[in-house]
Symmetry: C2
Subunit: 352 residues, 2 copies
């Protein structure tokens, strides 16, 4: 074991502050990474503040962060895919059983024995796993990804959650050239959805409640932008979408979007509004439409996504912050005051 | 034109009573059918009582009925698929444009210019179409189906709506041998769902609120029956279903069923509860599950379904009634007091 610098919360109401956590010494199958950047996901805030106490109560101290990007500093003797100096990344998962049907299909996110990157039982050291708000992490090579060197590292970090979460359902539901694809909600997730839909060749339509996001949506790759509060604008697109990515975390009228789907169209939720969605059955019936949800993606698909990003030079739009500004960043996150993701520059941790 | 005997309602509050309607003389592409049996669908009642006034206001007099089975009495000169004496059937549609993408795929139910069997503009005679509570009907051969002679005709009539409505989503979502399939709600639709799931080779589990339906569900082909109000019983099946057919027309907790789906599982609504369904997003996210809806099926699939029924000797469980008992049957339908579909013996119309 060794000590690593980190930021951690000691209770649901404490700000994050400087802390020391322990990491295991790399085993033969482990990769040790010096963390350069870590994206800030809304899940980090939920976990730190114990807002999921019903399903995933927080164990303190809690070091969140699952959009981890860094340089490999050392590898175990059995590691074959990485070497010191490689640009590498870790996302929401750090382990799984490797033997269940989901794992065998490369869908580790559905493994019943998955280990998430933070606040999950740590098989090696006991206690819980600690995330990427830290200067170093040690992860089994099966859960380490290669990052194309051409990508801006600060912007590449959020690909590990916001990226794969939006890329995976688009691939699953067949977003390609010739399809008409909507992206509802332009935040950390939605803005990645726009970039992917565009890069996959789809006719991409952004839905937003904010007229002041129109210009930015076009810049991100939208072919059209619809102000979702304008019923006339919405009606023009009735029955025309093959796929809609619903990245709205606030309560909203899902039926308005279902009515925009073409026959056999699908709308996939990647945000999770607090209240149940009110779904009118008739809207699904007439058109054999479907509503689904999707969480992150498996390791093979995450690597595919990173390679796709390398090829198309796609990264998240980030505001880089020092770790000392993380509490302020959380406050701003709650006001959607970020375009479109915070990325923590971990060099700032050296001064702690 | 010629006169046909029928039963019709003259207002939303009138009982159905004896009436005379006009039918067109068969054109060269038409098939004329002497109706032997007509199933009673809940939609008939909704339409007759103008309960869908918002979307499909009823034009009176209204003769409903879209589960029509009979003998061909004559065919137009250009008809090639039918001849006098054939056992034939007509379902919910009697025409479509034949040129749209949906029609070209044999999915006439999604044609924007579909003509439904009753209460829809009649292109030939003006006014509206009249359904199967009648002694005769004339329909373009494209919308007439062959019925295997081995099937009991009274029980075969409901295949044209209750049958195809449950068969189609099972085929669409890949119900086959080796799959675990649930059917929620054992009424006119649900009981057909059980028969199809069983005949398609799936491990079939019935969900019902009524312990007194257990024995019958097993008789219909269920491998297991779960009392849906028993949370422990439900929990035993968590995360295990590939597909669930939701044929519950009353309000119900859809999340309880979503939690029973396996990864990538689908639940399809064929009933349409009045109130919106309350869908918790997390239930769909963790498992990439989907909720969809499905209405009837296209003509090629309806023929496939009838042929499948012929092969497996599948018909609806019906209570045969004379047309004179139709109003009483509607009252009983509202109390779910029928196992599981009324089928009107049209011979009873001769005495009117």
């Amino acid at each position: 074991m060794y000590n690593a610098k980190a930021y951690a919360a000691t209770s649901a109401t404490s700000p994050l502050s400087s802390a020391t956590i322990v990491r295991r010494n790399p085993t033969e199958s482990d990769v040790q990474i010096e963390i350069l950047f870590c994206g800030v996901c809304h899940s980090d805030l939920h976990q730190v503040r114990n807002e999921w106490s019903g399903v995933m109560p927080t164990i303190y101290p809690c070091t969140p962060g699952h959009e981890i990007l860094g340089r490999v500093t050392s590898v175990g003797s059995a590691v074959t895919k990485f070497k010191a100096g490689d640009l590498a990344a870790v996302g929401c998962m750090v382990d799984s059983d490797g033997t269940c049907p989901a794992c065998k299909e490369g869908l580790e996110q559905f493994c019943p024995n998955v280990t998430l990157t933070y606040n999950f039982p740590d098989k090696h050291l006991g206690g819980v796993t600690y995330g990427g708000y830290s200067d170093s992490v040690v992860v089994d090579e099966r859960f380490v990804l290669h990052v194309p060197e051409n990508l801006n590292p600060a912007g590449a970090a959020p690909l590990l959650c916001a990226g794969i979460t939006t890329y995976s359902p688009m691939r699953h539901w067949g977003v390609t050239k010739g399809k008409k694809v909507g992206v509802a909600g332009i935040g950390g997730l939605g803005h990645m959805g726009v970039k992917f839909a565009h890069a996959l060749g789809a006719h991409t339509v952004v839905f937003t409640t904010s007229p002041n996001k129109v210009e930015d949506a076009l810049r991100l790759g939208a072919d059209e932008v619809v102000i979702s509060r304008d019923a006339n604008e919405m009606a023009k697109h009735a029955g025309s979408f093959d796929f809609i990515l619903d990245a709205i975390s606030a309560d909203h009228d899902i039926n308005a979007y279902i009515s925009l789907l073409a026959r056999d169209g699908n709308i996939t939720l990647v945000g999770a509004p607090e209240k149940p969605l009110q779904v009118a059955a008739f809207g699904l019936l007439f058109g054999r439409k479907s509503l689904s949800g999707s969480p992150i993606g498996g390791i093979p698909e995450t690597q595919e996504m990173l390679d796709f990003c390398g090829k198309h030079n796609i990264t998240a739009d980030v505001e880089v912050i020092p770790i000392q500004k993380i509490n302020e960043a959380y406050d701003r996150l709650l006001k959607s005051d970020v375009k479109y993701r915070f990325s923590i520059d971990m060099a700032s941790l050296k001064s702690e």
